[in-house]
């Protein structure tokens, strides 16, 4: 018999919060834990990798060009004799920086607009939703190419002028132009899904009885928003952000691959794949290394996102 005798001790279960329950469900999901592990390893590499790698990602060793993987060069070297392992790790940093900054900007814009649209409704809702639809209807790639083509040269020139005027070395690093353009254009196309999600969440939460109950207690709109609406809306948002980080990494690689993202010599998985693709028949490791890491990162975020989704929205429980 599968019955468990009921004892007073069992009735006094330790208290569990919804968050803790979700965490228990997450750690029991093997794929999600695998994803989390991959992400932690990559994040560690992104944060500390450059200090740990034996080579600088820019240092060239022209005697050892296109070397196959060995103990000295785990992933081999490229056509300038640079250590591919170090470059992949530095590319991880690029990917994480871009993904985190872009997602942060997109989530901020999306949450603010979505929450306003959902909570206030009316004409504000209509305008914001119109803006969302328009943004979503513009082809992503085209927008990024146009922004790059039209803004890159003026921005670089402006930086140059600033450097000449102030001699501040910050302005000599044209690498910032790349980043600003990548961040800006990607954030511009990434916020609408967050806005839609948050609006839908707020609309549905706004009609829940516990909001009416809170109003009946006389609580102010601000308290209701902060203590009732937001905490109940973050679950789906966390899921969406996790998936969004993965998507942002893929986007960054795709743009760099096409030459409208991060430009050489700054390593990015995308431009490394692009370089590797030209010589893959002779030196397959140049393509395989960045592609494998990109694949791993995508899979990691996707597994974690799925796991979070199952953990935060358990089906069949009340």
């Amino acid at each position: 018999m599968a019955t468990i005798p009921m004892t007073p001790a069992e009735l006094d279960e330790p208290k569990t919060s919804l968050w803790r329950d979700a965490w228990y469900r997450l750690v029991r999901n093997k794929l999600a834990i695998f994803g989390l592990f991959v992400i932690i390893v990559l994040a560690f590499a992104a944060a500390f990798g450059p200090y740990l790698t034996p080579y600088d990602f820019l240092s060239q060793d022209l005697d050892a060009r296109n070397a196959a993987p060995s103990w000295a060069h785990l992933f081999g070297t490229d056509d300038l004799g640079r250590d591919v392992f170090s470059r992949v790790i530095y590319g991880t940093r690029t990917a994480f920086v871009v993904a985190i900054v872009v997602t942060a900007i997109a989530v901020t814009i999306g949450v603010a607009l979505g929450a306003m649209a959902g909570f206030f409704g009316g004409w504000l809702d209509r305008i914001i939703m119109w803006l969302t639809d328009v943004t979503m209807s513009v082809p992503n790639l085209l927008l990024v190419v146009v922004i790059n083509a039209s803004l890159k040269a003026p921005l670089a020139a402006w930086m140059e002028a600033q450097y000449m005027a102030t001699l501040n070395p910050f302005f000599r690093e044209t690498i910032w132009v790349d980043f600003i353009l990548v961040f800006g254009s990607m954030a511009l196309i990434s916020w609408p899904p967050y806005a839609r999600l948050v609006r839908a969440q707020v609309l549905s939460i706004r009609s829940r009885p516990y909001i009416t109950a809170a109003r009946a207690l006389g609580l102010t709109t601000r308290i209701i928003l902060m203590r009732y609406v937001v905490p109940n809306a973050v679950g789906p948002l966390i899921v969406s952000v996790s998936a969004g980080l993965g998507t942002a990494m893929v986007l960054e690689s795709a743009f760099s691959f096409l030459g409208v993202g991060v430009n050489p010599p700054t390593p990015s998985w995308g431009n490394m794949i692009s370089d590797g693709l030209r010589v893959w028949q002779h030196y397959p490791h140049l393509l395989a290394a960045p592609a494998a890491v990109l694949g791993l990162a995508t899979v990691g975020f996707s597994f974690l996102g799925d796991g979070l989704n199952d953990a935060l929205n358990p089906r069949g429980s009340k």
Partner: protein, 337 residues
């Protein structure tokens, strides 16, 4: 004893030792624990219990319609000579909607919103009775008339959202009756309806039962509702039948402490107003947390040591007769008397 025990009535449905388990985080937990139930030919059986007692799952399991994580662990369910739980899928399909009709609680969600109601009634007729479409529509019109829907021919082409809740439940009943079932299982069919509409549906089922000579199982949480509707009542508590008796006997002489508590906690319209209702303290055990002995023992004021150690069997009160109760104390009190 009365006449019912003299001539043993023919059993249409006979469920023996049915146990149902659910998969939980802590492993499998018993929800229904060795239930014995039967329905005689032409009889109306009321199954009464509170939410979570397993009354709906029992009936769903007979049609093998249980959700994924819930499984039948043991038991047999003999229906007209065959075991519903082991018969082949093709046989089962003939039983579902054919020999056994179902009416569910919520007429809003149990009808397909994008299909005209005529088509929904015709579907079992075409499938089970191999009727031609035109014949099926004629039969569907008859069925709608039977369940008291005005101008039935025009209503065939209506969509569910064009009908009121009461009308939709009548349509559900028409679908359940479409193939002249021997058994109609109604799972809380009036819970979602207003009291005046509920009265209409109860009267309808009473009338149809006589007209069509079928057996009915009426699942409900409302003891008052079935008082005037059924012949026999089975009271379920935490996945076991605690009492099973002819309806007059059950109301006149409730023997299980749970049945007594349940009856006492219903305010009666005809009562002189009392100030406090008697209530049963505590809450039913959760699945997987069933006590060792009688499931009601933790809430029972009469519970003794034996109640906490072993499960009382469902046995005829006083040794014979149709009134059966699963309670050590009630059985002993009768012996002493």
């Amino acid at each position: 004893m009365n006449a019912m025990t003299m001539s043993a009535p023919e059993r249409l449905l006979d469920v023996k030792g049915l146990s149902i388990e659910i998969d939980t985080r802590r492993g499998p937990a018993t929800i229904v624990d060795g239930i014995n139930l039967h329905v005689n030919k032409g009889e109306t059986l009321g199954i009464v219990g509170e939410s979570g007692c397993g009354k709906s799952l029992t009936m769903l399991s007979l049609m093998r319609l249980l959700p994924n994580k819930i499984k039948v662990k043991s038991g047999t369910a003999n229906f007209a000579g065959r075991d519903l739980l082991t018969m082949s899928k093709s046989e089962l399909r003939k039983v579902r909607g054919g020999q056994v009709g179902f009416v569910f609680q919520d007429p809003m969600t149990s009808l397909n919103p994008v299909m005209r109601i005529g088509d929904q009634i015709c579907e079992p007729l075409i499938y089970h009775k191999a009727m031609k479409r035109a014949d099926a529509r004629i039969r569907a019109t008859e069925l709608l008339r039977l369940v008291g829907i005005p101008s039935p021919a025009e209503r065939l082409d209506a969509f569910p959202h064009e009908l009121s809740g009461g009308m939709r439940q009548r349509v559900m009943i028409a679908i359940g009756l479409a193939c002249d079932p021997e058994l109609l299982i109604a799972d809380e069919p009036t819970t979602a309806l207003d009291v005046t509409i509920q009265a209409q549906i109860v009267d309808l089922v009473k009338e149809l039962r006589v007209k069509l000579g079928m057996s009915v199982v009426w699942i409900t949480h409302d003891l008052a509702l079935i008082a005037g509707l059924v012949d026999r009542v089975a009271v379920l508590y935490a996945g076991t039948v605690v009492e099973d008796a002819p309806v007059e006997e059950l109301f006149a002489n409730p023997s299980h402490p749970y049945t007594r508590g349940l009856l006492a906690s219903i305010p009666k319209l005809s009562d002189v107003a009392a100030n406090r209702l008697s209530s049963i303290g505590g809450t039913p055990p959760e699945p997987g947390r069933r006590p060792l002995g009688c499931p009601f023992a933790p809430r029972c004021q009469l519970a003794e040591d034996i109640c906490r150690q072993s499960v009382p069997p469902l046995e005829p009160l006083g040794g014979s007769g149709p009134h059966r109760v699963a309670c050590f104390v009630a059985q002993r009190q009768l012996e002493a008397a």
